[in-house]
Amino acid sequence: MAALATGGATPSDGATSFQRKVPASSRLAAIAGTRPSVRHGQLLLSSGLPSLDCVLGGGLAVGTLLLIEEDKYGIYSNLLFKYFLAEGIVCGHNLFVASAKEDPADILKELPAPLFDDAHKNQVDEKETAIKSKQESQESMKIAWRYQNLPKVEVSPAASARFGHYYDVSKTVSPELLQSIKWHRFFLPEEMSLHPEIKTCNMTYGYTRLLQSIQRIIYQEGFDGSYPQKKQKNILRIGIQSLGSVLWGDDVCCADNPEDIHSLTKFLYVLRGLLRMSLSACIITVPAHLIQNKAIMERVTNLSDTVVGLESFIGSERETNPLYKDYQGLIHVHQIPRLNSLICDVSGTKDLAFRLKRKLFTIERLHLPPDLSDTVSRSSKQDLAESTKLLSSGCGAMAIGKKHLDF
């Protein structure tokens, strides 16, 4: 118990043999794609990226909100958004996709394909060749002869029972897989044309409609427990793209003194209320770099549960910096919620960077190599000092000035 309670990742290959004996969670653990947390007994969902799950302390808790602060061109935040939705497809959850700029059907068509199909096929082929080779080489084990009669390890056929999957970004998800799940859509231009005038409740029209739409789906599909006779519970994964951007009708991103600075925060508050009362989880991407009024981002951070900021190197001078040549950007985990507990599973590493290869988006500890060049130049030392200043941001605190790091 102590070893697992120190947080961090448990291996994501199959259910762990240790199951906490809590009646509530053992009842709820029957929902596909979830597992109970060791720390606080909440159900955890995978965010679609096993390495992000590790950073977030095992996964995203059901009923919470994951806020992604977009990088400058929105490339990687869009990718995280898609991973979240793709994970929902693989686990059989229901999806709710809301966007103001892209049609949700197009978003779903471009989701990355899960990798287990190929891996499973390869493993099945391997198994066949292994059986053939085993029959041929019966007396091959001379040293490990005790293991000769043991059966070969079975390849787990139900790979989708795993927690956290890998996706191939270069391929899109197959239409059959898409049709197998139930999903709901919210496309703002469509809603505007359908219901032009409705009571706004002091909030931007787009947000009002979105809240009503989400609440209607939660109520109708029974995610808030309003149909107790439905035995098969499922999770609703909500994805909202680029909230706060101009396309939603909100001017927080383009004006220093926006007309209505409370729309976005009110929306987040009410949304969190809806999430807490239902079996759902939500991912929101916010173009934080466009919001001039930093007070709003502070309030937004306080109102969200998990906040992750992405900073990509595209276009900045770090792109050509040899220190960062293996990575595409940095990840800042600004906030992790403390749910049902005084403490949370904060990982000790605060310096995280991500890299994207075709099949793998990994988040790794940023490892500044030692400066081994003969002539240590001024500019690289400056850059190191700058990056250490930026990187040591734990408890949310930044090293104030250089006085604590000067030695």
């Binding site: 002091n202 809240l211 009110k266 009362m277």
Partner: protein, 266 residues
């Protein structure tokens, strides 16, 4: 409640103080452990508590309170705890039908323009008013947290008015206590929030300020707590008493120690 914090504050559940405004403040870290401490402290002391919980759900507070030795459901049933859960009813307040029958909803301000918090004040006053059959000790108002009100569209002046009215009703008339949590930041750009926080700092008798360490994240020391006790008499111009401790949060307890004396170092 955390035994060590009680010793530091020289407080005990047997004889809770009366008529005090305590400000809980956090900077760059999460100060909600202080809210849990005061909630379980006053419930164990036998006070009637009105808890305005705007940030988290009831089950969250309940589970943590059970670890600290009180049951919120039992307290609610006995009438010792009046719990206002913001997250549960905010959607209905915004989109529900207009209700003219009975008491107005305390969260009415969400759908209004945020110029006053009258309905919430009325709710607090009626729930803490001593009724004949009660045998509880002094009433306590606990708010988690005040900065959320600003995000919901309430003007800072309205928040300060609300605290003022509550102080008159709860602290002077009913001889009770008020504990509020606010977030703040040294380099924050949220001027409204800083206005509220500064004003409350001047009004409060006791300030507990939880800060993240200036040098960054540490596994063994989660932050530092500044305890500022205002001089008891303003006429004599007594100085404020300032003490700084560092703390580490564990599953069921928080340990406090002098700076540099963390168990990991010794």
């Amino acid at each position: 409640m955390f035994v060590e914090l009680n010793e530091l504050l020289n407080a005990s559940p047997e004889r809770p103080e009366q008529g005090k405004l305590t400000l809980l403040r956090d900077t760059k870290t999460d100060g909600s452990f202080l809210v849990h401490h005061f909630l379980s402290f006053y419930l164990k002391a036998g006070c009637k508590v009105c808890f305005v919980a705007l940030l988290q759900s009831f089950s969250h507070y309940n589970i943590i309170a059970q670890k600290l030795g009180v049951s919120l459901t039992a307290a609610k049933e006995q009438g010792q705890l009046v719990f206002l859960e913001g997250l549960k009813s905010c959607f209905d307040v915004l989109f529900g039908e207009e209700q003219h029958v009975g008491q107005p909803n305390p969260l009415q301000f969400i759908s209004e323009d945020g110029s006053n918090l009258k309905t919430m004040y009325e709710f607090v006053r009626t729930s803490l008013m001593a009724s004949g059959s009660d045998s509880w000790k002094c009433p306590v108002l606990l708010v988690d947290d005040l900065s959320v009100l600003l995000s919901l569209g309430v003007r800072p002046v309205a928040v300060l008015d609300f605290i003022h009215y509550c102080r008159v009703a709860v602290c002077s008339q009913l001889k009770g206590n008020i504990v509020v949590l606010v977030h703040s930041n040294d380099d924050s750009e949220d001027e409204e929030n800083e206005l509220v926080v500064n004003s409350l700092c001047h009004q409060s008798n006791l300030i507990l300020w939880a800060e993240g360490l200036a040098t960054g994240f540490c596994k063994d020391v989660h932050g530092q707590l500044k305890i500022i006790q205002k001089g008891s008499s303003e006429l004599k111009a007594e100085r404020n008493l300032l003490r700084i401790y560092q703390y580490k949060i564990q599953d069921k307890n928080v340990t406090f120690f002098a700076r540099g004396m963390s168990a990991a170092v010794l």
